[in-house]
Symmetry: C2
Subunit: 415 residues, 2 copies
Amino acid sequence: MRLSKIFTKTSKDIAKEEVSRNAQLLIKAGLIDKLMSGVYSFLPLGYIVLKKIENIIREEMNKIDALELLLPALHPKEIWQVTGRWQYEEMFKLQNRKKQEFSLGWTHEEIIVPLVKKFANSYKDFPLAVYQIQTKFRDELRAKSGLLRGVEFIMKDLYSFHIDERDLDKYYERVKRAYFKIFQRCGLAKLTYLTLATGGTFSKYSHEFQTITDAGEDIIYICHQCDLAINKEIIAKEHFVCPECSNKNLEIKKSIEVGNIFKLKDKFTKPFNFFVKDSNDKDLPVIMGCYGIGLGRLLGTIVEIHNDDKGIIWPLEVAPFKVYLISVDTDKSNVRIMTEKLYERLLKQNIEVLYDDRQHKTIGEKLFDADLLGLPYRLIVSAKTLSKNAVELKLRRSKAIKLVSFSQVEKFLKS
Amino acid sequence: MRLSKIFTKTSKDIAKEEVSRNAQLLIKAGLIDKLMSGVYSFLPLGYIVLKKIENIIREEMNKIDALELLLPALHPKEIWQVTGRWQYEEMFKLQNRKKQEFSLGWTHEEIIVPLVKKFANSYKDFPLAVYQIQTKFRDELRAKSGLLRGVEFIMKDLYSFHIDERDLDKYYERVKRAYFKIFQRCGLAKLTYLTLATGGTFSKYSHEFQTITDAGEDIIYICHQCDLAINKEIIAKEHFVCPECSNKNLEIKKSIEVGNIFKLKDKFTKPFNFFVKDSNDKDLPVIMGCYGIGLGRLLGTIVEIHNDDKGIIWPLEVAPFKVYLISVDTDKSNVRIMTEKLYERLLKQNIEVLYDDRQHKTIGEKLFDADLLGLPYRLIVSAKTLSKNAVELKLRRSKAIKLVSFSQVEKFLKS
């Protein structure tokens, strides 16, 4: 894509009212825009990143046999009264002109349970898993962390349904592996720990995926013997030892919860009387698990982790484009022609390239934006590089600059 | 995909409370589920259709140089007061715990205008166009038409910005062509008319795209000389003649508005003081157009148009799958083995196939579901067809059945 075709612009300054690094950088780079506290627009380049994260999650969910669907955001009061969660204070409530009451969904157990119950009425229908990627709302009092804590936010929520606990346990482990795959593809593998957290009333523990960063609002205790973390809320009760191996030598870190998974068992199926017949016509209680990832929070976390004083440093799989292409000496028509040629060649090879073809920008401004936008590769074509039949290549992650033969650029970028 | 892996089921009966054909058929086929009046879930097979429509629209929007972004659903009161539209009675309003007031967006002029204004401040930044595919809300009193009139609904809304009227006019014509392309790809070309409608205070006319069906709530007068329709609301004023050619011989039809386009000019840019400098440093008013398509409504309209007494008849490009594959005599292991082989072959050729591999269903039940789900092609493998080295093929649209050589199925389906 040609940068001249994108209306958003980078900014020299940091937005004054933003205190979080992710919002500061994403706004400065023109990837998101703040409408109000906790509510952001995704601008064209930011929306590409969001879509890439969405597709990674979709691919990994499909691999674990979950079916995608889409549930509404607007819910009737009655359905939330069944589980006693209508009173939840972070839930937005509203009325229509007929004075009927509704809520805006912050989670969807109350919607998915009766829905699945309509269709799954035999033990043969299980297990089954469904997920959606959908916008949620939460009346959040302290939305100061950019994309990390939203009032309006996009979530992937997965729900699995089972008729025996071992089957739930098995699927739960599959989801764990899928989650690690997602965080790995998003460039967070090394800093993300499976973390024990409170399990509610139905399990001893639930699991969180916590990514270490000072921007985090959680505190975890890492046991390097088990490669496992423990959320502070739990460790306090258990005298600062790893519940798995009793290791007392735990590392304390701030972290962001990028995912959570729960064995809900019959917590939400029971209120809806969700039983099915087994082969002997006996009632079996349906049990479930739920598994969440916030897409905006994940995006924000990636930025919190991958940046330097010049800007964002996108991991390859979620970068809005792979290559930032700059032509220097654009008044020399040969340089421009050769850059255009290279641009067309990269497009033909399906290499995602952002071509900074802006006419009235200095090379300094273009280099500034290249660093701020943080695409993995920067290519510069100039009279000097062309005199050597080459292109200058720099990885955003490193300082080293190298020359690559003009005819070998695609090959190099694909390797 | 294997039908045995999809938890939704078709139903023998029509949902009692639904009066619209689209909701009746989509619910019966297990493609959507009603949560409450005007609010539906898209189930796995229905969600595939929704995504296909979304992708058609996205492709056609990208072709007219519009950039995709995503705006929030939750809006602050203050921004709607700028244009005087806070009082709009169909807009849902709500408060947070701090008693701040918000609305749920039913359109996004109030959001996109100040957003674009932040970035586009020179005449050189124009024209530009942005669109989103996003969920909207409307406090709709008469939501009885299934997907045709939703309280919560997904829209594609496109906004274009210009600094001279001829440029707006030119883009407006490009959008018209893109819209016809979208409706053509969705199987509505023959029944969809460009329709003159009231233009508000700023243009003589706006344009709607009206699709003829008795399920429609609009009435249009078609001028077959101009291949143009006129919405009843306008024709009444102009004495029942075509405003283009003065033809008095107009055909009256009921129809559904599947799209609308407006030249808003400075209606929403002016309240936000959106001016830019021209080359002489003179203030230029920014003008705009807006262009909407409701995805659910489009899906509902497709079903209203394409059905018979047995079920839905999907147009090829929006069908959840291209082929419905059935194996008869499944107790004969050879038939099952050959069907499995054919299924794998079709998958390998990227032919979208839904394989009805359900063990406990009779052939009658499978044929019933094949007709109800309405995939374009039905393939049956049986001992009888295999004895002729063939597969039975039937188009959903026609009654004719033919035998296709077992080894030539892919070739036939791809042609």
